[in-house]
């Protein structure tokens, strides 16, 4: 199939050996690539109950059939593995030059096994593949790592993905960083890479991709660009970036505030929202092969961190380090963003864990005696920055926080799990589900834990016509959103341009044909998404997950939201159960969340796969 190479690079770090792993055209047709191919591979390759941080876990970097083409938003890759945070399915997405370079060097992805006996990095170029020693780089932050590797390899235009100290120290929410400011952030993929003593991957290729119809592809891109010029949604996004989302979540009452105790925070306005961030914007930036420059380069304009720049901060960072911690200083959030990027930490989970500890302090469940003198109070930016370094380096109390919010609550006890905001161990992103029940369902049934990328329910419940505090129709709504993003994440393109240019699955069907020469209709794409989501469900079932894992924290289920438009709302067990029943039913899963025989037949997934 054009657009793909039909092979992955398989690396065994224990043996120091590499070989090609062929992928058939039929597999691409059934799973597309990206998330879909990752589901097939993880299910087939990983034995059940594998320790995520053992050499037996597999770390898979995947592109998709559209990666490296000219399709807007196509410089994405996904890292698929078993998560050390949830002990279940993990797919973590990032932009990065490495995605393009992998295609140019002749691979659709990399499958990494084992553990090197010393720190190493993987070098892939037209001349071959080398596992090189990284003793002199181990311990460096991800910015320095990227700089050093490009210098050692004498290749400033190579694609580099690396881990920082957090990944080396097996922090359970460590990220993999690319192009300095781009992270595969969620689920602890950086810890899995660290457990393999793999500091970085550097890729440089020179071969062009064989595409079916370049002329048509150029024409489609021109049409999309013209559509973006006329779309005020796209224009607003290119001007303000994701910080505009904060104004919407504030207005809708779903802005996480004070560790998800509240849903609005007026002090955020004009300081850390679109207006506040825009004042600090120095330039706009696009990812490679995207004409939508929705990324912002900002510079701290005052105070101790004046002059610090970052690509960001994105909405999630503003929400989790801003309103969630009651920090209204943009320079402090910029510094937190830079620290997390350098040290290799997911800003979402890090902000969430710090918010949890701040509430523990507020409630008197812990004191500075237990945290080596560090007192974490809501609003204290400097203490938050200190906490980031302690977590990444697993120093003192940071060693407990580095295990994630679920483990931290287990450690502290005293019913603190009631306000440990996670699903399956993955920390909540910056949306308060009590103000939009579909978000609650989306978080609960997500196979990777509380996830904001599989679906974006505020589009329906705040900005769309769905009543936010009801359960009717929410299962179908979430399935539809999940399936659309599943297709985009398998193709593998950024899901953002699809939303604001906008581009439909019919548009992507045209793109897919121009790249591969094959037609897959919108309905066939959606059927593939159903197959992928069902296979991922089967992976988690095999790992021991059950319906009881598809749940929400006590706070979300039982504590009424005290403020904002959703004041008085809570989801409740009955509502959640009804939404889950409906969701399983529309997926073709039984009431326990197990795919039925007829569903497995429909998706051509053999029955025996249920038993592994």
């Amino acid at each position: 199939m054009k657009g793909t190479h039909g092979k992955l690079l398989e690396v065994d770090l224990t043996q120091g050996k590499t070989k090609d792993l062929p992928i058939s055209e039929q597999t691409f047709r059934r799973y597309l690539g990206g998330r879909g191919l990752g589901a097939r591979l993880l299910f087939d390759l990983l034995p059940a109950k594998t320790d995520p941080l053992s050499p037996e876990n597999v770390l898979i970097f995947l592109t998709g059939p559209l990666t490296g083409s000219m399709v807007t938003g196509s410089s994405k890759f996904v890292v698929v593995t078993k998560s050390p945070l949830t002990h279940g399915w993990c797919d973590s997405y990032s932009s990065g030059r490495i995605a393009i370079e992998l295609k140019k060097v002749g691979y659709d992805g990399i499958v990494i096994w084992g553990r090197s006996n010393h720190p190493c990095y993987l070098k892939i170029d037209d001349g071959g593949i080398e596992i090189r020693e990284a003793d002199g780089i181990w311990g460096k932050d991800s910015f320095e790592t990227e700089r050093m590797i490009k210098e050692i390899e004498k290749n400033p235009s190579a694609g580099v993905s690396s881990i920082g100290p957090a990944g080396e120290n097996l922090c359970k929410f460590a990220s993999i960083n690319s192009d300095l400011y781009r992270q595969a952030g969620r689920g602890g993929v950086g810890a899995v890479m660290g457990s393999k003593r793999l500091k970085a991957i550097v890729v440089k290729g020179t071969k062009g991709m064989d595409l079916h119809d370049r002329k048509k592809l150029t024409e489609l891109n021109r049409e999309s660009y013209q559509r973006a010029l006329k779309s005020q949604v796209a224009q607003a996004r290119m001007k303000y970036g994701t910080p505009l989302t904060l104004n919407i979540t504030y207005t809708g009452g779903i802005l996480p505030t004070k560790n998800f105790q509240f849903g609005t925070w007026e002090k955020a306005l004009e300081k850390i929202d679109s207006v506040g961030v825009y004042k600090s914007v120095k330039s706009h930036k696009s990812c490679i092969s995207c004409f939508v420059h929705c990324s912002l380069i900002t510079e701290a304009s005052e105070g101790k961190y004046k002059g610090i720049t970052v690509e960001g901060p994105e909405y999630e960072t503003l929400g989790m380090f801003g309103s969630n911690l009651l920090i209204d200083s943009l320079p402090t959030i910029i510094q937190a963003n830079v620290l997390c990027d350098k040290l290799g930490l997911d800003t979402i989970s890090t902000g969430n864990v710090i918010g949890f500890i701040m509430e523990c302090f507020e409630r008197g469940l812990i004191s500075a005696n237990q945290t080596e003198g560090l007192e974490l109070c809501f609003g204290d930016g400097e203490a938050s920055l200190t906490a980031i370094e302690l977590i990444a380096n697993r120093k003192g109390f940071g060693d407990i926080l580095a295990e994630g919010v679920r483990a931290a609550a287990d450690h502290i006890g005293e019913d603190s799990d009631r306000f440990a905001m996670h699903v399956k161990g993955l920390e909540f992103p910056a949306y308060e589900p009590r103000g939009a029940f579909g978000s609650g369902l989306s978080f609960a049934v997500s196979p990777r834990g509380a996830c904001h990328r599989r679906a974006w329910p505020p589009a329906k419940e705040i900005l769309g016509g769905y009543p936010p505090y009801t359960v009717e129709g929410k299962a179908e709504m979430i399935k539809e959103l999940y399936d659309e993003n599943c297709v985009l994440h398998s193709l593998l393109v950024c899901d953002m341009p699809a939303k604001f240019i906008p581009l439909s699955l019919d548009d992507y069907s045209n793109y897919f044909h121009a790249v591969t020469g094959e037609w897959i209709s919108k309905n066939d794409f959606l059927a593939i998404a159903g197959r992928i989501e069902t296979l991922i469900r089967m992976f988690n079932l095999r790992e021991g997950f059950t319906r009881k894992d598809d749940t929400l924290p006590y706070r979300t289920l039982f504590e009424p939201l005290p403020d904002g438009p959703a004041k008085g709302q809570f989801i409740g067990e009955e509502n959640l159960n009804r939404m889950i029943d409906d969701y399983y039913a529309c997926r073709g899963w039984d009431s326990a969340g197990v795919p039925t025989k007829s569903t497995l037949q429909k998706y051509e997934l053999p029955n025996e796969e249920l038993n592994g």
Partner: protein
């Protein structure tokens, strides 16, 4: 009566307090009054027949009017109207 207006588009305006000489108005009444008074700001969001322009929505107190009583939604003192483009993702 006084209401609050937010505008989230290529230009952003937060929490403008606006006085209206209306008693127990519906959203339709308010939009008709605002359309003349704030034409420059609102024409990107509402058409002449008051319906939202493609890619735009109207919120009353953080909720899309399609999940309320649409243009018959009652507007009260202090209510917050938001005219916004369809933001997506974070």
């Amino acid at each position: 009566m006084k209401i609050i207006i937010n505008i989230f588009g290529t230009e952003i305006s937060l929490k403008q307090e606006i006085s209206l000489e209306l008693t127990s108005p519906t959203l339709k009444d308010v939009l008709m009054a605002l359309k003349n008074q704030y034409k420059g700001q609102l024409e990107r969001f509402i058409k002449d027949d008051l319906s939202p322009v493609e890619g735009s929505v109207i919120l009353v107190n953080g909720r899309n009017i399609w999940s309320l009583d649409r243009f018959e939604t009652k507007i009260h003192q202090g209510d917050e109207l938001t005219f916004t483009v369809l933001v997506a993702g974070g």
